[in-house]
Amino acid sequence: MDIIVAQSLLEPNAGLIFYKVIVFALLLFVLGKYAWKPIVNALSEREETIDASLRKAEQALEEARQTGAKNEEARREAEENARRVLQDARAAAERVRAEELEKTRARIRQMQEQAQAEIEREKERALEELRDEVAGLAIRTAEQILEETLDADRHRKMVDRFIEQLPRN
């Protein structure tokens, strides 16, 4: 009996093969249609979603990085601008101040010159007056001294000559 049974270990049972073909074909069909299709599709769908999410995140990060860089650049530019404006303003102010100073100086110089001229003129007139005064005074004095010796015309000539000989100032 043992030999018979031992043979049965290696002897394919035709009936079992028949059933097994049916069972496995059914299994293939049922699982293929109702299990593997949804499962495998869902798995690849999920993988794609995860991949897409990762890519999107990477992209967003890259974008953020770019935006940051851009912002930084804009900030630097704005700073540069501000500095230039400030510099310009400072330069302009400096220029205005210098001009103002120059103008003021010029006016002062002008006023000085005018004043000098005025003084000169006044001095000239005063000298003139003084000369006249001195001439008259001298004449009168001389008249009083030389009342009778000299006529008036000779007197004048003498005094004038004297005055001519006087230093200018």
């Binding site: 043992d2 031992a6 059933y19 699982l31």
Partner: protein
């Protein structure tokens, strides 16, 4: 920490309980009336389910006979024999004797009918379509796989669940298996067209794995330890692969390029034989590995009873712990083997599919294209 300790404790208790359940029936079965262990009978297919020590359940017998043609269905072997339409022979001293009446009843009482090959009184037996133990296990494995993966498929019904992270042990565990088959077996071995073969590979892997693991369960057995089952699986692999064979593949097979004409006639049969041998080996590898594990465990347990008969009960009691320890060891190995051989079968199937899908790339001297289809057919 308390939680971890608690879990470990519970796991150990569970393991011990499982061990008791696992070894209980085997040990009980081992001691049949004569005190002998029939490891082969237990490993081989049969027309009954063994629930020792609670007895055995006979499975329906279905016979296809000719002259006249007919399909005879009986609820059990016993009823087939008692109906007197089928008879069993008792072989003794070289001549067969058909049993009738009391002799038949006596044989049935000794469970001899379970191993006999009933013959029809009228006509000849064409095909024994009886439901066998391994068929029951195979169907059970198929049902378990269907239940698990239809359950898993239900998790993806809603679109928002499809992209959500997997939740829970169930989904994570079986998703990992599916992804393993897809990424470790189908993608690298089949190539870019792997999606066409993925359903087959997944089905084969899950079915074989489930059947293999069932071989470890009490009262059950591995359907894959039956040569008919593994041949069927290999035949499916063969058909699935050859069905999609490319022109380059068939050319390579029957009209090998780049060799002289006479050599082609020598090479073609060799290639054909090697193709069939590959699938034959696929079936035998799975069958032999699953069967040997079962035989080995029963033999190790059987040592105890053999020693009991040969050297008495004291020696048997001394050997028993060793036998049980070895059995435990082999059982752990069988768990690994269950996974490894599910993997190996699927991997080799995938490699064969990949070969069938080969494209022309490295052959410069090709025969004219017109000749190929005729030869390929």
């Amino acid at each position: 920490m308390a939680l971890i300790a608690n879990i470990r404790y519970r796991q150990i208790v569970l393991l011990l309980a499982a061990g008791c359940v696992f070894f209980g029936p085997r040990l009980a079965h081992a001691a049949d009336e004569k005190g002998e262990l029939d490891a082969v009978a237990h490993t081989a297919d049969g027309v009954y389910l063994d629930f020792a020590p609670f007895g055995a359940v006979e499975l329906p017998r279905i016979f296809l006979r000719s002259d006249p043609w007919g399909l005879d269905v009986f609820p059990s072997t016993r009823s087939a024999l008692l109906s007197e339409r089928y008879v069993m022979e008792h072989e003794e001293d070289g001549h067969a004797e058909v049993l009738h009446g009391d002799a038949l009843r006596d044989a049935i009482d000794h469970h001899e009918h379970l191993y006999a090959k009933p013959k029809p009184v009228q006509g000849t037996l064409v095909l024994d379509l009886s439901i066998t133990r391994h068929l029951v296990f195979g169907v059970l494995a198929a049902l378990i796989v269907v239940a698990i993966f239809l359950g898993l498929a239900r998790r993806y019904r809603r679109p928002e669940d499809r992209v959500a992270a997997p939740r829970g042990i169930f989904q994570n565990m079986f998703e990992a298996l599916v992804i393993f088959v897809r990424d470790e077996i189908a993608k690298p071995c089949v190539g870019p067209r792997y999606r066409e073969f993925l359903p087959f590979l997944l089905t084969a892997f899950m079915f074989i794995l489930c059947a293999n693991l069932m071989g470890l369960a009490p009262y059950l057995g591995a359907a894959t330890s039956n040569v008919a089952v593994t041949f069927t699986l290999a035949a499916f692999t063969f058909v699935a692969g050859q069905r999609k064979g490319t022109k380059a593949y068939w050319t390579h097979l029957f009209w090998p390029p780049g060799v002289p004409l006479p050599v082609k006639f020598i090479l073609a049969p060799i290639e054909l034989v090697s193709l069939i041998a590959k699938h034959f080996a696929l079936a035998l590898r799975l069958f032999a590995n699953m069967m040997s594990g079962s035989l080995l465990i029963l033999s190790l347990i059987g040592i105890i009873f053999t020693i009991n008969v040969l050297f008495g009960s004291l020696a048997a009691a001394l050997v028993a712990p060793v036998g049980v320890a070895f059995t435990l060891f082999i059982t752990f190995i069988k768990i690994a083997v269950a996974f490894i051989h599910a993997f190996v079968f699927t991997l080799l199937s995938a490699i064969f599919f990949g070969m069938a899908l080969e494209e022309e790339e490295h052959h410069e001297e090709e025969t004219p294209a017109e000749e190929q289809p005729a030869l390929a057919g």
